[in-house]
Subunit: 187 residues, 2 copies
């Protein structure tokens, strides 16, 4: 029942980009995402393209380009991302809601395995289609803030500062910006 690395990498990148958005960071370079998550850069490149083509992300080309989330985060369900990259959630095709396929068993109606796997499919889908990216990102950020752990992509990030990557517009310490509720950087 394991997810592919491709899928895991994609989800981790999405969460990172979600955190970045919450922290008012504009775009994030592939390289930065790859290094932060220990993902081979060229591999991540392909995955981000796929997420972009599916509408979840958008990109800015050229110098100081990068990726950002496009679809509102409360619309992005984990289930949809997994379906995109790894295919149906169902353990067997004959219980899939989105990609049903008849199996080779003699009679689906009396197939004991199907009964069990239908439960499993529903359990998986109930979770993955319930969680939105927003929920998970908010939860992760809150946990870090509660524990006084530095949240990635926070403004004033020393690493980014050293790299000279501009924030929302210019230096946001002197010129603070807020697009949404702008989670405050505690600790």
């Amino acid at each position: 029942m394991a997810l592919s690395k491709r899928c895991v990498y994609g989800l981790r990148a999405l969460i990172d980009l979600g955190v970045a958005q919450r922290m008012d960071r504009d775009v994030v370079r592939i390289q930065e995402l790859a290094e932060g998550e220990n993902i081979p850069e060229k591999f991540l490149e392909q995955i981000l393209m796929q997420l972009k083509h599916a509408g979840f992300l958008e990109s800015v080309r050229g110098k100081y380009g990068g990726y950002r989330i496009r679809t509102p985060m409360d619309i992005i369900r984990f289930g949809d991302v997994v379906r995109l990259i790894d295919g149906p959630l169902a353990p067997i095709a004959c219980v899939s809601q989105t990609a049903y396929e008849k199996c080779s068993c003699p009679d689906e109606v009396y197939c004991g395995l199907r009964m069990v796997m239908l439960d499993v499919r529903n359990a998986i889908a109930n979770i993955l289609d319930q969680y939105s990216l927003k929920q998970v990102v908010d939860l992760a950020i809150k946990k870090m803030q509660d524990d006084s752990v530095r949240v990635p992509f926070t403004e004033g990030n020393w690493f980014e500062a050293l790299q000279g990557v501009p924030l929302k517009k210019t230096l946001s310490k002197e010129n603070p910006q807020r697009r949404k509720k702008s989670a405050s950087t505690k600790a």
Copy 2:
């Protein structure tokens, strides 16, 4: 999140053998299982060997040989069979109870993906480790009987009769046997 065909075939064969046991059929030939479930015979052969080595099945060699269930059916959990054939139930190794492995993310504690996938793992395990083979076999048989559908491996099975396969001991029509509650063949 799909199971391998190997795993599905193995589970279907186990259920079949469970039904056979309930119907007081002694051993079942690989060929019969393979034909009944539309599984390539030589492939099923390997799978049954694996289930035998794991202790779930036992075999009788030679003419009139075949396979039967060894472990009591209420002890065989679907989760254990899936783990045997397809590996851990968890979508990602860092939430596996039986095969934990550290992942490449920067910090497990604040990994949003891990939080979600831990829920998924638990949901899957709660179902697959809850269902025993006995439960599922009983349920499937009951459903067939309620609908007056012929249960496979029932004594007096015309096909088996034609094949000349002996039942528990001799002809069980004249010499009926019952080992457990012996589900009655309705219709």
